[in-house]
């Protein structure tokens, strides 16, 4: 069960009540505007109370909210999106959507990890967990973007790459490794949007770029909290503790220099006003592309190299060479 869905129930009830009163106000002779005003104030303070100080674990659930905008909600707001299919080798992977479109008139290639809205669609899309053929389709698109001089726009929203027998047989690790290297050297601008859940290498498989934008309430983590808890303590029920320790929020990642821009969300999360959030993300992408497209390929690649080159955490020890 999603803890945010539970948490926001009283707010939704209150909002429904306000809507009801508004309708009454329009149709009845009695004036309810004072009541509506009072309830609106109550709604604002309840909203602040519920969402004002979310824990990392609640943030994880907000990023997985069933009504949160998904990759296709952004992609479909680009102009003239045309989907391109298949890795030319095995099959088309519905967990990773690919194609081309125009962003404010700029032709772009697009990649997005697509979760489902319901169980049926989630089974079809493997919950947004791509197989190797999905990453290889993405690799095709990356090469097309470079060849035809079009920027690449990606939307990351995955718990991770699909863990299964077929995925391992067909080389999940190799597929992701190839993409990461390919993006590192791709001679065209890459703008990455972390819009929901950025899970591990599966996210990075379409996540290396020149500008990394992250929605305020998205998460991005070395492993999903469940997987991290299982790896660290052999106990996936300790996911809440892992979420707290992993520093996976947009504020954390901006501070580490891993994310270049945090796109704000409305109070309560993107699902409270999806259209506004989609617009804000695409506007941020257009601004970033505008800047990146003025750079020469060599500048672009040097800048990208340095961006990742400096992300680290090591200390230096004075070694007593004489003693060794």
């Amino acid at each position: 069960m999603n803890v945010i869905v539970e948490l926001e129930k009283p707010l939704l009830e209150l909002e429904a009540k306000i809507e009801g009163l508004k309708k009454l106000n329009e149709t009845q002779r009695v004036d309810f505007s004072a009541e509506i005003r009072a309830l609106n104030e109550k709604a604002v303070s309840l909203e602040a109370e519920i969402f004002g100080n979310l824990t990392p674990w609640q943030r994880v659930h907000l990023a997985r909210h069933p009504r949160r905008p998904l990759a296709m909600d952004y992609i479909s707001k680009l102009d003239g999106f045309v989907e391109l299919h298949g890795d030319r080798s095995y099959r088309d992977d519905p967990a990773l959507v690919a194609g081309y479109a125009y962003l404010r008139g700029v032709p772009v290639f697009v990649l997005g990890q697509q979760k489902g809205r319901d169980t049926k669609e989630n089974l079809y899309r493997s919950f947004g967990m791509a197989h190797p053929e999905g990453y290889r389709k993405a690799a095709r698109i990356m090469r097309l973007a470079e060849k035809f001089g079009k920027p690449l726009l990606t939307f990351v929203d995955t718990p991770g790459a699909y863990p299964g027998i077929g995925a391992e047989e067909r080389g999940q690790a190799e597929a992701i490794a190839t993409n990461i290297k390919l993006m590192a050297g791709l001679r065209t601008p890459i703008v990455v949007n972390i819009v929901g859940e950025g899970g591990s290498g599966g996210a990075l498989g379409i996540g290396v770029g020149d500008h990394i934008a992250m929605l305020q309430h998205a998460i991005y983590s070395v492993a999903s909290p469940e997987a991290a808890a299982s790896i660290l303590w052999r106990d996936s029920t300790k996911a809440e503790e892992a979420a707290m320790r992993l520093r996976l929020t947009s504020e954390d990642l901006f501070e580490f220099g891993i994310v270049d821009e945090v796109v704000p969300e409305p109070m309560g999360g993107a699902h409270r006003d999806p259209a506004k959030v989609v617009d804000a993300v695409l506007a941020a992408d257009a601004r970033a592309l505008d800047k990146l497209m003025s750079l020469k390929p060599e500048q672009l690649l040097d800048r990208r190299y340095e961006k990742y080159r400096k992300i680290g955490a090591h200390e230096e020890m004075v070694l007593d060479r004489a003693a060794r």
């Binding site: 299964g164 690790a173 996540g207």
Partner: protein, 291 residues
Amino acid sequence: MTPTPNWLRRRGAKPQPADDKLWEICPSCGERIYIKDLDAQQRVCPKCGHHFRLPALDRIALLADGDFDEIGENLVTGDPLQWSDRVPYREKTQGDRTKSGLLEAIVAGFCTVEQIPIGLGVMDFNFRGGTMGGVVGEKVTLLVEECARRRVPCVIVTSSGGARMEEGMIGLMQLAKTSGAVERFGALGLPLVTILTDPTTGGVSASFGFQGDVVIAESGAAIGFAGRRVIDQTIRQKLPEGFQTAEFLLEHGQVDMVVRRSDMKAALASVLRFLIAKGYGAVDVARPKSA
């Protein structure tokens, strides 16, 4: 085994097991083997041929002709997340130092293999499961960059559970950082050969591990992306016989060859010698004087 090389003697003694253990039980055939005998056999079971994990310094001694010039040897673990669970991260890595005799999960440097000058990075599972955090990422990047400067092939022997959890996203970003270096290195026409040993999974297999121009797997090694436990929990079905072993990967076209430890040096030298041999194009690579 051959007598201790000078570089290893300079480096200091290899750590002694804390528990005065005299023998190991082979997990494959159940044979009880004296550790002294096991070490003398390159840690391969004399009865069934099972390959025990090999510490990094032993691996270097196995592959390098003689001297080994270490780089980045003064880099030690940072603590970017100020991580603490049951035990603070800094305390955990202190324990790893004692256990492995190393400052971090990889040893990198320069040596020759059958007279061919190379850069060599070797991971060690005894340090935090060989996981990649900031130090491993930095040392791999330094190694690859320095190989590019010296125009020599790069060889990386992996043994790793993937990205290091205790460094969070800094750990994950090392995949992108090392891949950037590998990409630039490859553009010079210089070879990267990776040797995947037991175990190689997660973020290391999904970055430089499988970015090798030639990928060699050591006999019996467990190799893959997702760990068995994660796959079990996700699909809840029986995993096929030999799933995620080196031999399984060979059969499924994921690695170029499976090589036994006793043949590893010769196999590696053969690949390197071929890749740097003068052919049609002119690649600027340092070649042995005899070639």
